[in-house]
Symmetry: C2
Subunit: 93 residues, 2 copies
C-alpha cells in the first residue's frame, strides 16, 4: 500500500538541494547554502551523500582565486526525484 520512500531523498536538506537542482542547469555551494539556509557543514555532508549515490555531480574549481564547488543533477538523480515525488503522493493524497 505505502511505497518505500528513498531514504536518500527523504531528508529535509537533501530534498531541498535536489529540488533546487532539478530546476536549474547547475548551482554552486554558496548558492545552495543561501537558498536552503543550511550550515556549511551540513550542506557539505549531504552533497557528498547525493554524489556518492550518483544523484548529482560535483566539480571543484575556482572563481577567481576562491574555491568554487558546482553541483549538477544527473539523469539518475532526476529519475530518483521523480520516483520519490510519486511515492510521496501516495502518503499525502
Amino acid at each position: 500500500m505505502f511505497p518505500k520512500l528513498d531514504p536518500l531523498l527523504h531528508s529535509e536538506l537533501r530534498l531541498a538541494v535536489m529540488s533546487i537542482l532539478v530546476g536549474v542547469d547547475e548551482a554552486d555551494f554558496t548558492y545552495l547554502k543561501k537558498q536552503t539556509g543550511a550550515t556549511s557543514g551540513n550542506l557539505s555532508v549531504q552533497i557528498d551523500k547525493l554524489m556518492a549515490a550518483g544523484y548529482i555531480t560535483v566539480e571543484k574549481g575556482f572563481k577567481g582565486k576562491m574555491p568554487r564547488t558546482t553541483c549538477k543533477i544527473t539523469a539518475a538523480g532526476q529519475e530518483a526525484f521523480e520516483g520519490y515525488v510519486k511515492a510521496l503522493k501516495e502518503y499525502i493524497s
Copy 2:
C-alpha cells in the same frame, strides 16, 4: 524559501500512520501494522511519539479477551498533517 518540515511527520512510518488516520474515524494497532507493514516494535514507538505530540489519541481496551489499542487523529494532528503537506509541496513542485 523552503519551509521547515515538521520532524514528527517527516518519518516514513509516522507519516503512513497519520495518512491512514486522516482518512478514517479510528484504527487499531493491528490494522495499522498490516497496512504499513511495520514491525510491532517500531509501530509501538512511533504511536507513542504521535501521542506525546498530541497528534493522536490512544485508547487501550479489549476486543473480547484480547487487548486492543485504538488510535484516532486529533484536531491538532489534522492541522499538523495539512501543514506538513502544504510545506512539502514547496519542495516537490
